[in-house]
Amino acid sequence: MAVVDVHRFAESITCHAWSPDLSMVALCPNNNEVHIYKSSQDQWERLHVLEKHDQIVSGIDWSSKSNKIVTVSHDRNSYVWSLEGGEWVPTLVILRLNRAALCVQWSPKENKFAVGSGAKTVCICYYEQENNWWVSKLIRKRHESSVTSVAWHPNNILLATTSTDGKCRVFSTFIKGVDTKDPKAGSPAESKFGEQILQLDLSYSWTFGVKWSPSGNTLAYVGHSSMIYFVDDVGPSPLAQSVAFRDLPLRDVLFISEKMVIGVGYDSNPMVFAADDTGIWSFIRYIGEKKAESSGASYSSQFSEAFTKFYGQSKATTANEASESSKSRGGVHDNCINAIVSLSKAGSPKVMRFSTSGLDGKIAIWDLENMEEELGHQF
C-alpha cells in the first residue's frame, strides 16, 4: 500500500493545507477554528489555534513562497494570517459577500487568491500596497448557483470554477496593476476581468473538485452522478470526455502527472484515472489493493444490510456480503474523503506524495515512490 502515515486529528476534518516546508499542517476540525499541528518524531503536536471566524471554516490555503495562510468561512469573511514573531496575526479581507464562502485558493504567483461562494459569485482578492489591505473584486455574472470549487491555471490569470448548477467555467481574472499582459499569449478576451472564456455543460448534476493539469492543458472535474470529466486543449475547441464509473461519486481530484489523475470521494478509497496513448481517459484501479474484481459486489456491510431488506420482498437470495466490511476495501479512511492536497513543490510536473483528509477526522499521507511500475507509464 502507498500510505505512509495516518493520523486522526479530530472528529471530522473540513479542509487542510500544508506549510511550505511540509512540516506543519493547518486544518479545520469541523468548527470555527483552524488548528496548526507540527510533526516531530512521529508525534503530532498542536502549535497554534487560530480563532477568528464565527462559523465553520470551509477553506484553508497556505502559500508556499510568502508563507501566508488564507481562511474562508461560512460567516462570509476571509482572513489572511501572517506569522509575526511566532504568532499568527489575522488581517480581515472584506469580501462583500452575502452568503457563505465555500472554497479558496492562492494563485500560482501568490499575489491573488480566489474565493468561491454560495452567493453565486467568485471573489478575486489582491493586495493593494498603498492602503495596506486586501481588495476584493467580484465576478458576479454567469454562475446560477453556489460555486463549489476554484482552480488557478499556471499562468496566474485563468481561473476554472465548478458550481452546483452543473457547469464548469473558465474566467479571466486579469487585473491591471497586478497582472502583466503576456505579449505572446492571450487574445483580447483574456485581458478583461471577469470575462468568461469557456463554459462546459457536460454534467446534469452538481460539480465539484476542478483542477488543472501541471501544464495547464487539461482540466478535470467531477460530477455528483458518479462521473468524472476531462477536457483536453482547453480553449476555443476543447476535447471533452465524460467517464462514468461504478461506485459512489467523487469530491475532489488531483493531477499527479500530465496524464494521470487521482480522485477521492464517498468510497473512502482514492481512485486512479489515466489517459492512454490515444488520449482516452478511463478508470484504472483503486490505489490500494482491490480484492476480487467486479465479479463480486464489493458492498460495505452497511449497504448489504440495506439491500437485503430491499430485496427481501422479492424472495431473491443475495450472496451474503455482510462479512465484507468497508474497512477491507483497502480502507485507510472510514468515511468520505473530501480533500486531496499535493505534497510536492507547486508547479512540478509529477506529484510523488499527496495527503487526503475526510469526514472521519483522519489525514493520510500517500507516497507513490514505489508505485511507478504498478501505475504504468502514464505516471
Binding site: 446534469y204 448534476s205 452538481w206 460530477g223 455528483h224 452522478s225 458518479s226 462521473m227 462514468a244 464509473f245 461504478r246 461506485d247 459512489l248 461519486p249 467486479s294 459486489a297 449497504f303 439491500f307 430491499f310 430485496y311 420482498q313 422479492s314 431473491a316 443475495t318
Partner: protein, 135 residues
C-alpha cells in the same frame, strides 16, 4: 427548449409515438418467438430521454414494461446487453418500482439486484441525479 419548440415538439412527438408503435409490433413478434432479450434490447434502443413530452415517455414505458415482464433469464439478458444501456435500464427499473404494482415490482427488484451487481452504485447515482433526461 419548451418555448419555441412548442409547435415543433408536438410534431416531433407524433413522429416519436409512431416510431414507438412500430417498435411495439416488432417487440410483440420477438416475444412470440421466445426472444425476450432481443425484445428488451429493441425496447431500450431509441428511448427518447430528450423529449419533454409525457406521452412519448409513457408510450415507451409501456413497450419497455412489456419486454421486461417477459424476461425469465436475467443473467443472460444482462450478459447480452451493452454497457451503455445499463443507465437507461436502471431508470426504467425505478419507473417500474414507482408503479407499486406487485408483479411489476417483483420483476423490477429482481433485475435491479443483478444490475446493481454489474453496474455498481454509480449506475443508481446517475439515475437519481439526472433530472433532465428522465424516463
Amino acid at each position: 427548449m419548451a418555448g419555441a419548440g412548442g409547435f415543433v415538439e408536438a410534431d416531433n412527438a407524433e413522429a416519436i409515438i409512431a416510431r414507438i408503435e412500430t417498435k411495439s409490433s416488432k417487440i410483440e413478434s420477438l416475444l412470440k418467438q421466445y426472444k425476450p432479450v432481443e425484445a428488451l434490447k429493441t425496447a431500450l434502443e431509441g428511448s427518447p430521454p430528450k423529449t419533454l413530452d409525457e406521452r412519448c415517455k409513457s408510450a415507451n414505458w409501456i413497450v419497455v414494461h412489456r419486454a421486461l415482464m417477459a424476461i425469465k433469464d436475467i443473467e443472460g439478458m444482462l450478459n447480452a446487453l451493452d454497457v451503455e444501456y445499463y443507465d437507461i435500464l436502471m431508470k426504467y427499473l425505478y419507473r417500474g418500482l414507482s408503479t407499486g404494482d406487485r408483479p411489476t415490482c417483483d420483476q423490477c427488484l429482481k433485475i435491479h439486484e443483478k444490475l446493481t451487481d454489474r453496474a455498481g452504485l454509480g449506475c443508481i447515482l446517475r439515475c437519481l441525479t439526472d433530472t433532465i433526461n428522465t424516463v
